[in-house]
Structures are given as C-alpha cells and as structure tokens.
C-alpha cells in the first residue's frame, strides 16, 4: 500500500509542476497591467519602472517563474498587489471559513444523499424511488442563489430563526458560528446531496444484483443487513471518490453562496482578486486549490485500500 501511495505522490509532482507553469503563464497572457492600477493616476514612467524593478517584472519570464516557485516552496506566495498583505496570510484568514462551510455542507450532503440513494436503490421502481428521484432532480435544478435568497426571506426575515448573513469564528462562539453557517451549508449541501444520491443509487443498484448479495439472502440475513453490510460496503468506492472530489470543489468554489450570505471566504477572495487583477493572489489561490484537489484525490486513492481488500495484498 505504501508503495502504491508513494507512486501516486510521485505522479502528482509533475502534475503540480505543470499546473504551476500554467498558472504562472496564464497571468502573463491576461490583458491589462496591474502596475497601471498600482501606479495610480500619474503613470509616471519613472514610478512604473521602479515598480517593475521592485516586482522583478523586467526579468526574463522563466526566471520570474523560478523565483516565484522558489518562494512558493518556502511558503511565500508573494504579496497582494493591492493590499500589500502577504498572499499566504490572506489565504490563511479565509481558508478556515471556507473549510468550515465545506465541512458543514458535506455533512448535509452525506446525511441526506447517501441514505436517500440507498433507499431508492433498495426500492427501485416503487413510488419511494420515484419521489426520491424527483426530489433529487429538483435539488439539481434549483439554483443555489435562489434557494439561498428564499431561505433568507423565510427563515431569517419572516420567522427570524437564523441570522441572514455574516460569519462568526467557531473559536469565538461555537454555537453562534454553527447557526450562521447553517443556511449556507444547507444550500450547498442539498445541491451536492442530489449528486451523491444519484451516484449512490446507481452504485447500489449495480451491487444489489451481485452474486454475493444473493448468497447473503440465501443465508437468511435480514434485508437490512444484506443492504447495509453486504451491498453498501461494495458500493462505497465510487461514493468515496465522489465525496473527495466534491469536497475539493466546495473549498474552491462556493463563490455564489458566499456572496449571498456575505461570508468572508475563499470564494469571495478569488472573485475580488480576479476583478482587481491581483496576480499574486490569483496565482496563489489557483495553486493552493489545485494542490488541494490533488491531495483529495490521493486521499480517495488511499481509501480504496481501506475499502478493497484485493488491493491490500499487492
């Protein structure tokens, strides 16, 4: 297993290199000059030149890349061209917010999606299956922003049950923190629950016709044990992969939902950085997100070993 994971990590390295080149290169292809923003109204050539020198923009591009990578490896992703704050510091502020949001959304997604998928697979072709599918389809088709706004309207404005927006760090007040995150994570979670439900359902349907499921029934085991032990265990592999990827997606791109609930998270940071042509921040975010995705994939790979004894021996 270690050998396998090691190989996977080795394969990940060129992937990360390629991503870093693309991230770096894309910036230079984008139109617009951040220095013009920085230099302000005057556009004094001397000032511009000084800035160019300062940010080493006169160096050949490969050199710029190497310098950037070298710093990145030391945990230095540069400073924001706009606020002069280190990019790592900016991300360190926003990341916990988004991770909390992602975790809570994932809990919603798993708690709703997997049982619903199992139920509709076990009752395939019945009214239960049909209802679950219709609900899932609506979950997929209702846009997050609409659901978010409706929830704010009903739960916050009309019934005044939960705060409409904002963010409270869990270290400050755990209960209040969870309460504020409840609606946004529900909005994100239900959308993912629909995806998860569909995948769980199809994985379970495949597994339920397996010979070993028939054997389990022939042993006189209850339908609950047959489904939750013998079938589910074998259907878990695709579900785990999907969960890992969805989690990566949640961290990277809850832009809309963060906007609606005014949560100061990663998504908002990305959008602001892009609008401001804040190269260093965009580069940093894309790089960190990509590496995060690669690690989620590695995690999924590692889970295969836990789930599939056939792989362990090799």
């Amino acid at each position: 297993m270690l050998a396998f994971l090691l190989r996977r990590i080795l394969i990940a390295i060129p992937t990360i290199v390629i991503i870093s080149i693309m991230v770096f290169g894309l910036q230079h292809l984008l139109p617009g000059d951040p220095l013009l923003v920085l230099a302000g109204e005057e556009r004094d050539p001397a000032v511009l030149e000084a800035l160019r020198e300062k940010y080493r923009l006169n160096d050949p591009i490969p050199l710029q890349y190497l310098a950037w990578v070298g710093n990145a490896l030391q945990g230095d992703l540069g400073v924001s061209l706009r606020t002069n704050q280190p990019v790592t510091e900016l991300m360190a502020q926003k990341l916990p917010v988004t991770i909390q949001l992602a975790l809570m959304s994932m809990i919603f997604a798993l708690v709703i999606g997997i049982p619903a998928g199992i139920l509709s697979a076990a009752k395939k072709g019945t009214a239960t299956d049909y209802v679950a599918n219709v609900v899932a389809l609506s979950g997929l088709s209702i846009p997050n922003f609409w659901l978010g706004i409706m929830l704010i309207l009903l739960v916050s404005v009309k019934w005044q049950l939960l705060p409409a927006s904002g963010y409270v760090p869990p270290s400050e007040d755990l209960w209040q923190s969870i309460r504020t995150m409840l609606m946004p994570s529900f909005v994100l979670g239900t959308a993912l629950a629909a995806t998860l439900m569909r995948h769980t359902r199809s994985a379970m349907i495949g597994v339920l016709s397996a010979d070993y499921v028939r054997t389990a029934r022939a042993k006189g085991l209850s339908e609950r044990v047959v489904i939750l032990k013998h079938a589910l265990r074998n259907a878990l592999t695709p579900i785990v992969t999907l969960t890992a990827l969805l989690f990566g997606e949640l961290v990277a791109g809850a832009v809309l939902t963060e906007q609606i609930f005014t949560i100061p998270g990663f998504g908002k940071l990305v959008v602001d950085a892009v609008f401001n042509r804040d190269y260093a921040v965009v580069q940093g975010i894309v790089l960190v997100t990509a590496v995060g995705f690669i690690f989620m994939n590695l995690f999924a790979d590692a889970m295969y070993f836990v789930l599939n004894p056939r792989l362990r021996g090799q």
Binding site: G125, A210, D211, Y212, R214, T215, A216, R217, A218, K219, G220, L221, S222, H230, R233, N234, L307, N308, P309, R310, G313
Partner: protein
C-alpha cells in the same frame, strides 16, 4: 422436502417458465434436476429458496413442504429464519458468490450467529470446524483471509461450509461444479456425497451434466421447457429412458466406445417463452409427435420408480426407439 405443482411466470411473459413442477426428495437422498440452459431448473431452485424478486415473479400455484412446515407458495415463501438454516443453497459461481469485502471467517460466522444466536467465539470455533470438515487445510488462517486469496475450488468449499454450518435438512446445489475444472469437480462431488452420508441431509442438485448425475444422484428429474418430463431412479431413467427428450439427451452424450462417430443431436431448438407450443412442449421437436400431443401429457407411472410425461410411453410398445 416436497414441492408440488409449482407454476410461475415472470411479469409480462405469456407463458409459465416453470409449469406445474413437482419434486420430492427424501432425507439422505440426492435428487438431480437436469435439463439444458433455460429449462427452468435454476428458477425452480430459486423459488424453493424464496430468492426470486417478488415484484416481477408471479407464482400461480405451488406447495412446499419442508419437514413439518407447509407453505403455500402463492402467498408465502420460505421464511428467512429457515434460509441458510433448515434449507441451504450453494451456487454455480464460487468466484463471485462470496463477498469480496469481508473475511471468510466473518461470512461463515455471520450465518451461524444469525440462526443460533451464539456468541462470536463459539461461532468462530464452529466455523473453523466446518472448514476442516470440507477439507480446507489451515482453517484458522483461512478464516482470516479474503475470498480473493482462495482458489475457485477452495471458495466452493467455503460456500459449502457456510451452507452446512447450521446442519440443514435440505441442501440445494445449483450447478455447484460447472465453473470448476474437472479434478476439482470430482472432489466437490465427493465432498457433497460424504457430507450427505454424514448428516443424512437431502440434496437437490441442479445440473446440465449427465456425468454429474451418474456420479452422485439417487434419483433424477429431467426438465424440458419448464416441465418435468421424466423422473425416477437414476438406473431406470438412464438405462431405459422413456421420454423422447430424455432419449435425445442420452444419445447426445459422448461416451466410451463412440469414438469417431458423430454425436446425435436433437433437431430444432428449445421454443422461446413467447412461442411455447400448447400441449406437450416437446412436440415441435419430437419424432413421435401426433395430434394427440396437442393435449398436455400427464406425468404418470410406467414402472415402480419411474414416471414419464409422454402419451406414448412406454415407447417400446410403439416403435423401435433407437433409429
């Protein structure tokens, strides 16, 4: 165990896939059910176990007696408490019939605990003993292994150990040796026979292999297109087949002393379920068929331990059979 008049069809099909099948097996006896693929023998076995999917199976008649339990199969099926307990089953596909995600020990102990309620230490000891009985060396270690670490023959032994763990009165074996190579086949058949002698269980073995029948059966039931066309003691049926289909089957079997000769074949193909002839289902392929055959022949006694479902049986009385 006695099965009477089982008739069932799958929803949406025009004819019964199992048509008034009756089977009986005494304790200590091995009954082989033979027939080609699609003749309904496996479906019959699954119906006995209550393993057919309820939504798309319609059972229109059928009565099952196991020991003192009497079941009307149109309304009820073998309860889960009897499955894997009084009636156990092994399958054709040893490679896929064990769950790849769980250790052998877990899968055997599970059925023991389910039906006896014993604790896991006792179950484990019993599982180990069962593995020994089915001839698996090093049972303690095997209990900790996963199915993929075992060969096909070994897995079938594990399936048998699992099936027999709760001392069933009836073992249903659905082509238990088909997927195995010939030497392993013989070993598994020997094993089943030995265990039968030890425990006195009844065995219903589904097979399409007449060699297997000759090897192990006390009695045989020949199925064709969902019906039992002939049944009786193995010697009677083999030496003196009385249904034209059985005769065809026998002459299509390769045997010693036939080298260089063409094997006989039964002309035509098995009718599809949407195209089932009325009356005798074999009449479209039968050399003896006349208008009489449009009426369904009843299974009737032609010798003390020999029944056949042909209007013209015993056939010697009518024609020279062989050519």
């Amino acid at each position: 165990m006695t099965l009477t008049d089982l008739a069932l069809r799958f929803r949406g099909q025009p004819a019964d896939v199992v048509d008034r099948v009756s089977l009986a097996v005494k304790s200590g006896e091995v009954l082989c059910v033979v027939g080609e693929s699609g003749c309904g023998k496996s479906v019959t076995a699954m119906a006995l176990m209550g393993l057919l999917p309820q939504q798309n199976t319609v059972i229109s008649s059928g009565h099952l007696t196991v020991g003192h339990t009497d079941l009307d199969l149109t309304r009820e099926s073998l309860p889960p408490s009897a499955r894997g307990n009084r009636v156990a089953m092994i399958f054709q596909e040893p490679m896929t019939s064990l769950n790849p995600a769980f250790r052998i020990g877990n899968q055997i102990c599970e059925t023991i605990i389910r039906h006896t309620g014993t604790n896991s230490a006792n179950a484990r000891a019993h599982a180990k003993e069962m593995l020994q009985r089915v001839g698996i060396a090093n049972p303690s270690q095997r209990l900790r292994e996963y199915p993929h670490q075992l060969s096909g023959g070994m897995r079938q032994r594990v399936m048998i150990a699992m099936a027999l763990a709760n001392n069933p009165q009836v073992l249903i074996a659905d082509e238990p040796t088909t997927a195995l190579d010939v030497t392993i086949q013989a070993q598994i058949l020997d094993l089943i026979r030995d265990l039968r002698d030890e425990t006195g269980m009844s065995t219903i073995m589904i097979t399409h292999d007449l060699g297997v029948v000759a090897e192990i059966a006390d009695r045989v039931a020949v199925m064709y297109a969902g019906q039992v066309v002939e049944q009786g003691a193995v010697r009677d049926v083999f030496d003196n087949p009385q249904h034209p289909y059985t005769i065809g089957l026998m002459s299509a079997m390769p045997g010693l002393g036939l080298e260089g000769k063409r094997l006989a074949i039964i002309p035509g193909t098995v009718p599809t379920i949407s195209n089932m002839p009325k009356g005798c289902r074999f009449r479209t392929r039968c050399a003896f068929a006349t208008s009489t055959c449009q009426e369904r022949p009843k299974l009737r006694k032609i010798a003390p331990h020999h029944d056949t479902a042909c209007h013209f049986a015993p056939l010697e009385a009518h024609i020279e059979v062989s050519q």
